[in-house]
Structure formats: structure tokens, C-alpha cells
């Protein structure tokens, strides 16, 4: 249902004909309503869900027609993750698991830009690598769930209108089976957001405390106990977005051309007067080779993905960890005693030291290197899983992780 078999040519023709009736050269509210109701705001979405069920290829052909006509505002679904993250983070799980009611509420608001900033309430102090071990509880009270618990590593918690929440609704089944996934209104008294000060001095993340926070039962994405599956859709969107990044976590661009991949390292060594040192030169070429071979492997992965699932795609993040750590370590040492200076009030003024610390985001965030190695060895190489003491055990009886202390600033 909702899938179209329209060819790119047919889609282009449909776009032309629709544009001739509806585009009058004015980019106003009426135009956006027309886009939305005709399915041009997100034409790859199903025809019964604000889309037209087009393939990406057909949608691109139609988008060309809109571009040629100078008609703006459509085809949000073709944009990159970074342009409209919530369209993917919230939209994708809703399209896959959402009830008619919640889809009707959120999808138009995602498409008209009313809902564009949100936050993620996934990790907890006691559930990091073992995300399925979350202990935030959501208990049904009439037609509302009451939520109690603590989340961590939440970006943008203050600005967010909505949060995507992973919470436990059943404690008597094994850990993955008792989870549910919600959209929760962040602007309510039961939610307190406290910034976490990072080792870099920046505060990008927060701890979020939920105390009798309330979320309508209708705002659950999927059925009770389906939360882990719905979460995977959102995580997949997020990882795809992360995988397409071409800069270090702190924003330092990494060049990946054969001739320029070592530019920053060479410059650092030259300034240190150490470019003639054979050991330094070896180190530069080693790091440069890691950068290049990872970029090339990324290109091979992208080509594989076009044909089907790619095992190469799971290697990039792990390979990137040593690239970032080794590169930052090198430039830190080359900068010499100047690296001893760091201004915590203005971290951006000290990019070398900041990169040295930011490299940990890649090796810890989004699944630590150690978790990545588990994933690669099990899913790609087919090695057996290790001993899982919590397997098949009701979560109530599982030994649980806990916060050692709060790490946010009051």
C-alpha cells in the first residue's frame, strides 16, 4: 500500500503537470499546504502518509522539475541527514511503527518545520554500552505513562521541544523485550536538564532527570515492548548521518586526497623544525596512510551499499579512532610547549589540545571501540557471542549497572 511503481520519467511528467496547476511563483503558506497535501514535501513517503510512494530515483527526477520551475520547499526527504535530522530521527521510526494517530500529529509538523529540534533520551548512567539495560521506567496511569529515571549524553536538551525516549514498560521479560519508545514533550515540570561539562571545557551534552514526567500513551511509537526495534530505525538514521561526516569531531577538516592528506601533519612538523627527522617522517606517513586507506575503504563501502548490505561500512568508525587519536597526539607533540596552554573559557582558540580530547568522542560515543570490535567480530566475521549472564532472564532479576555519581553541573 502506498508504494508507487512510477518511473523517473513518469514522476517528472506528474511533477510538471502538478506544477502547472499549482505553482504561481509565490512561496507562501498556501503553497506549503499544497505541497504537503499533494505529497511533494516528502514524495518517497507512502502515498497514504503525506508522500507519493516514489522511489528515490523517481523523486529525484521530479525534484529536477521543481528546481527548473524555481518552486521551493519540496523533497525534504531527499535532503541529507544533517539538513533535517528530525525528519529522519523521528520520521523514520514513525513511518515504520507509528500508529495512525501519532503519525497524523507529527508527520505534518515535521514537514512544515514546526518540529525540527529535538533531543535523544537513550543512554543512562547505568546503560551505556549495554543500552538495552535502561532502567528509566514508564508506568501506565489511565491514558498516560508516568516516567521516572535519568538519561545522559543528551544534546540540545534545553532547546528541544520534543525528546525521543527509550523507557522500560515491563520488568518481567528479558531486557530487550520490555522496552518501549516514545515521543515526549520536553517542556514540562517533570523534566530537568542539567549541562555536563566535558573534559574540553565545552558543554554540549546534558543529564536529563525525569520525575513523574508524563507522556500520552498515544505517543508511543510502536506497541509496548517494541521499543528496541523502533529505536534501531532511529539509530540507523543517526549512524548513516555520522558515517557521512568528513571532519574530525571538533570540526577540523580531514583531507583525503593522496597529495594533501598529510598537509596538517607536515605543517606541524615543519613548524617544529622536525620535518627532516626520519622518525617523524615515518610517523607522518603512517597516520596519512591510515587516513587515506580508511577514506578509500569508505568509498568501497559506499559502492557495496548500492548493491546490498556492506560489511565494510562497519569498519570505518573503528578505523577512525586511531586516525583521530594518533593525528591529535602527533600535532600536540609537534606544537611543543605551546600545547601546555589551554583556555577553558575559549576552547576553540586551542584547536590542537581540543582535538586531543575530542578524539575520545569517536572512540567512545556511538558504541565504543570495544563494542565495535564485538559487533565486527560477531556480525562480520561470524565469531560466537560471549557469555551473556542476562540472556533470557527477566530484567527484574538481572544485575544492573548504576550511576557512580552525577556528572552534571547543578
Amino acid at each position: 500500500m502506498g508504494k508507487s511503481t512510477m518511473s523517473p520519467d513518469e514522476a517528472a511528467e506528474a511533477a510538471r503537470s502538478w506544477l502547472s496547476d499549482h505553482w504561481h511563483g509565490t512561496d507562501d503558506a498556501a503553497w506549503h499546504d499544497a505541497l504537503l497535501s499533494a505529497g511533494w514535501a516528502a514524495p518517497t513517503w507512502p502515498a497514504d502518509t503525506y508522500g507519493r510512494g516514489l522511489s528515490r530515483e523517481a523523486a529525484r527526477a521530479a525534484a529536477d522539475e521543481f528546481r527548473a520551475a524555481g518552486a521551493p520547499g519540496g523533497f525534504l526527504d531527499l535532503a541529507s541527514f544533517h539538513e533535517h535530522p528530525w525528519l529522519h530521527l523521528l520520521g523514520n521510526p514513525l513511518l515504520a511503527f507509528g500508529s495512525a494517530e501519532i503519525k497524523e500529529y507529527f508527520l505534518p509538523r515535521l514537514l512544515n518545520g514546526e518540529v525540527s529540534v529535538g533531543c535523544l533520551l537513550y543512554s543512562e548512567p547505568g546503560a551505556g554500552s549495554d543500552l538495552a539495560g535502561v532502567q528509566t521506567r514508564a508506568e501506565l496511569d489511565g491514558d498516560t505513562y508516568v516516567v521516572n529515571g535519568q538519561k545522559i549524553w543528551t544534546t540540545g536538551g534545553h532547546q528541544a521541544k520534543y525528546g525521543l525516549l527509550l523507557a522500560r514498560t515491563d520488568w518481567d521479560v528479558p531486557k530487550h523485550a520490555g522496552l518501549s519508545f516514545f515521543v515526549i514533550d520536553m517542556q514540562q515540570p517533570g523534566i530537568e536538564v542539567r549541562p555536563i561539562r566535558q573534559i574540553t571545557g565545552d558543554t554540549e551534552f546534558n543529564e536529563v532527570f525525569l520525575t513523574d514526567a508524563r507522556v500520552p500513551a498515544a505517543w508511543m511509537i510502536g506497541a509496548p515492548g517494541q521499543g528496541w526495534k523502533a529505536l534501531q530505525i532511529a539509530l540507523a538514521a543517526e549512524r548513516t548521518g555520522m558515517g557521512s561526516m568528513s571532519s574530525s569531531m571538533s570540526g577540523t577538516a580531514i583531507k583525503t586526497g593522496l597529495r594533501d592528506a598529510a598537509d596538517d601533519l607536515v605543517e606541524a612538523a615543519r613548524r617544529a623544525g622536525r620535518l627532516d627527522d626520519p622518525q617523524t617522517r615515518q610517523e607522518i606517513v603512517r597516520i596519512m596512510s591510515w587516513r587515506l586507506t580508511n577514506a578509500w575503504t569508505g568509498r568501497r563501502a559506499a559502492a557495496e551499499i548500492k548493491r546490498g548490505p556492506s560489511s565494510l561500512a562497519s569498519l570505518g568508525k573503528l578505523a577512525m579512532s586511531r586516525i583521530l587519536h594518533a593525528g591529535a597526539d602527533f600535532t600536540y607533540r609537534m606544537q611543543g610547549e605551546e600545547s601546555l596552554v589551554y583556555d577553558y573559557d575559549n576552547p576553540l582558540a586551542c584547536p590542537v589540545d581540543r582535538d586531543l580530547m575530542f578524539a575520545f568522542i569517536n572512540s567512545i560515543g556511538g558504541g565504543s571501540d570495544q563494542i565495535q570490535r564485538n559487533i565486527i567480530s560477531e556480525r562480520v566475521l561470524g565469531l560466537p557471542k560471549g557469555y551473556e549472564p542476562d540472556k533470557g532472564v527477566p530484567f527484574r532479576d538481572v544485575r544492573k549497572g548504576a550511576a557512580t555519581r552525577s556528572v552534571s553541573q547543578a
Partner: protein, 366 residues
């Protein structure tokens, strides 16, 4: 530019893999590495007649199939995987590319068709980086004569044609010396890696034909060695993949402490890291293959980078494979040592990784 292989190239891989599984299984490798000759002439001829592998990248005008580096790379990767015992690298990679890199059309016409159809086995005697050139070329009676020694030349004992680097007194020259020439003696040496034979070459006034202008061989040799490094990188990737596969399969079946040892994170994390090494090395090799194919100006850097990177990847993966096998890995019976030894011989064949990394830096101009 790194590109995808075409369907035809994928089919070539399948064909070569099948051929090698039929003709170069472990039993065959162990049989041949124990012989002086080090290869099976019948398989060598079949390989040429049925698949045309020796001539795959040699231009049609010189009797080859006229394919290019992606095809040769695929063949070498598969040969590395199978630890094929044959003078393929010597003849098809080292010697043929030296001839192709030269501007000597006569020599190409004279020697390449034989290399392409497998009837001639050729090799290249050159000083490895950091070792002196010990062969001198002198003019006498209107011809050239070579005197000196070239140690540890691959497959020199079975070669009908030796291309020899020699000091002309006025620059490095490359010379062709045919087997049976008076004053040429080859002595097979016992080697750590028994799957790749090495022989010392002694020349005492052996008659030789210059390849191109005598004294003008340095550029030809440098290009040939860059191309050889690309070929060796592809072979090393095949070997590294085979070693990793072997280790992973073993860890799925070897049970200790009540479970397959592959469930232990100490080991599975080593395996995951090894996979990163193998796949990134494969990318380095493929990038270099396409640089060679396009005759890109990136070739010298890409070749040196691949040489260093793929060498390290093969050495570390073959090393870990023995570690994965524990005590079994230290036995002659288990073939893990064969990959380890091939990795170690490949590490020194064209210069060690430090040399190649220094080359990358120099060639990038820093």
C-alpha cells in the same frame, strides 16, 4: 581513483580461484615447496594455455591478452591467497614490467611473447634498497660482459632469462642474460619461505645484451619496481585475507573453558582489528592498481604507500593467525607458518616498509 571491479573482472577472480583450488591446494603447496624447482611445469603450462594468466597484462602486440592492472591484481591476490608456488611474480611482474618499462622495442618483441605464453621464465636481479650493486658491466669485443654477484634473486635457478642491473661505470644499466650463457652460475639457497625460491647469481664475464641504452636503466628499474610493489601488495592482501580467514575458522571450532575460543573478547578484538588491517590494506592495493592502470602521476606515491601498508598488514595478520592457533600454530602440520613465512619473505623482497614510507614522504615532496 579507486573504482569498482567490473562483472568480467569478478568472473576472472572466480575462474582463477577455482583453478588455484584445483591446482594449488595445501598438499600441492607442501609438495612443491619441498622441490628444488619450486613449481609444477605442467600446471605452469596449463595456466598459460587455458587461462593465459602469464600474459594477462602483456599487450596483445607482444603476445599477451592485453588486459591491465586490475586483472593482474586480481590474479596476484588469488595467488597470494593460495600461496601458489610458481615463478609468476618473477616472470610476469618483475621481468615483464622491466621489459615494458624499457624503451627497447626489440627486447620486448624478443622476450615478451615467451613470457606471455609461459614458455620462458624470466626474473630480475636488482640491488634491494640499502644493498650495494655488485655487478659490473664492461664492453669487450663489441659486446657487453657482466661480472659480479646478485644475491637472492627470485627463481633465478629456473629462469631462462635474467634481466640484470649492472654498474656500467656511467650509470646503472639493465642487461638481458640468457640461461646457459658461459660465465652465468645460479645457486639455489635454502630459504625461510620455501614457497618462494631464491638463488644467488654469479656472473664472470657473462655475455649480456643491453636493455635500452646502457647506463640509462635507473629510470626503467625504478618504474618496474614501483609496478612490482603494486603487484606484491595485491599478493600480500590475498595472503593476509587467507591468514585471517584461517584464524577465524579455527576460533569457531577450538573449544576451551567450555566454549569456542572465538567467544573470548581478547581474541575476537584481535580478529576485528585484523579485519580492519586487511580491508584497509586491500583499499591501498586497489588504489595503487588503478593508479597503475591509469598510468596516473600518483603511481609512485600510491605504490610506495601500498608497499609499506600491505606489507605491515600481511605480517601482522599472519603473525596473529599463529597466535590464534596457540600451540597448533607452532606445528609444521598446521599451515599457519606457511603464511607467516610468505609474509616475512615479502616484507624484505622489495625493501622493508620503513624504506617505502620514506619514499612516500620524499615523493610527496616533504
Amino acid at each position: 581513483m579507486i573504482r569498482e571491479f567490473t562483472e568480467e573482472q569478478d568472473e576472472l577472480r572466480t575462474t582463477v580461484r577455482k583453478f588455484l583450488s584445483d591446482h594449488s591446494d595445501e598438499t600441492e603447496v607442501r609438495r612443491l615447496m619441498d622441490t628444488e624447482q619450486g613449481y609444477d611445469p605442467e600446471v605452469w603450462q596449463t595456466m598459460a594455455a587455458q587461462l593465459g594468466l602469464q600474459g594477462i597484462a602483456i599487450p596483445e602486440e607482444y603476445g599477451g591478452q592485453g588486459f591491465g592492472w586490475p586483472e593482474l591484481g586480481i590474479v596476484l591476490e588469488e595467488m597470494g591467497r593460495a600461496l601458489l608456488c610458481a615463478p609468476f611474480f618473477s616472470s610476469v611482474v618483475l621481468a615483464a614490467n622491466t621489459l615494458l618499462a624499457s624503451e627497447d622495442t626489440d627486447a620486448k618483441q624478443r622476450f615478451l611473447p615467451g613470457i606471455a605464453d609461459g614458455s620462458v621464465i624470466a626474473t630480475l636481479a636488482f640491488p634491494r634498497p640499502g644493498t650495494p650493486l655488485r655487478v659490473k658491466a664492461e664492453q669487450a669485443d663489441g659486446g657487453w660482459r657482466l661480472t659480479g654477484t646478485a644475491p637472492l634473486v627470485t627463481d633465478a635457478h629456473v629462469a631462462q632469462l635474467l634481466l640484470v642491473a649492472a654498474d656500467t661505470g656511467d650509470g646503472l644499466g639493465l642487461f638481458a642474460v640468457e640461461a646457459g650463457t658461459d660465465g652465468l652460475r645460479t645457486t639455489l639457497r635454502p630459504t625461510l619461505d620455501q614457497t618462494r625460491k631464491l638463488a644467488d647469481v654469479e656472473l664472470t664475464g657473462a655475455a649480456a645484451t643491453p636493455l635500452g641504452e646502457p647506463g640509462n636503466g635507473a629510470k626503467t628499474l625504478a618504474r618496474a619496481l614501483d609496478l612490482a610493489a603494486v603487484g606484491l601488495a595485491a599478493e600480500q592482501v590475498g595472503g593476509a585475507q587467507a591468514a585471517l580467514d584461517m584464524g577465524v575458522e579455527y576460533m569457531k571450532v577450538r573449544v576451551q573453558f567450555g566454549q569456542p575460543i572465538g567467544a573470548f573478547q581478547a581474541l575476537k578484538h584481535m580478529a576485528a582489528d585484523a579485519l580492519v588491517e586487511v580491508e584497509t590494506a586491500r583499499s591501498a592495493a586497489y588504489y595503487a592498481l588503478f593508479a597503475a592502470e591509469d598510468d596516473s602521476d600518483e603511481l609512485p606515491v600510491a605504490a610506495s604507500l601500498a608497499a609499506a601498508y600491505c606489507t605491515d598488514a600481511f605480517v601482522s595478520t599472519a603473525h596473529q593467525n599463529i597466535q590464534f592457533h596457540g600451540g597448533m600454530g607452532f606445528t609444521w602440520e598446521i599451515p599457519a607458518h606457511l603464511y607467516f613465512k610468505r609474509a616475512r619473505s615479502s616484507q624484505l623482497l622489495l625493501g622493508e616498509p620503513e624504506y617505502h614510507r620514506a619514499q612516500v614522504a620524499e615523493r610527496l615532496g616533504f
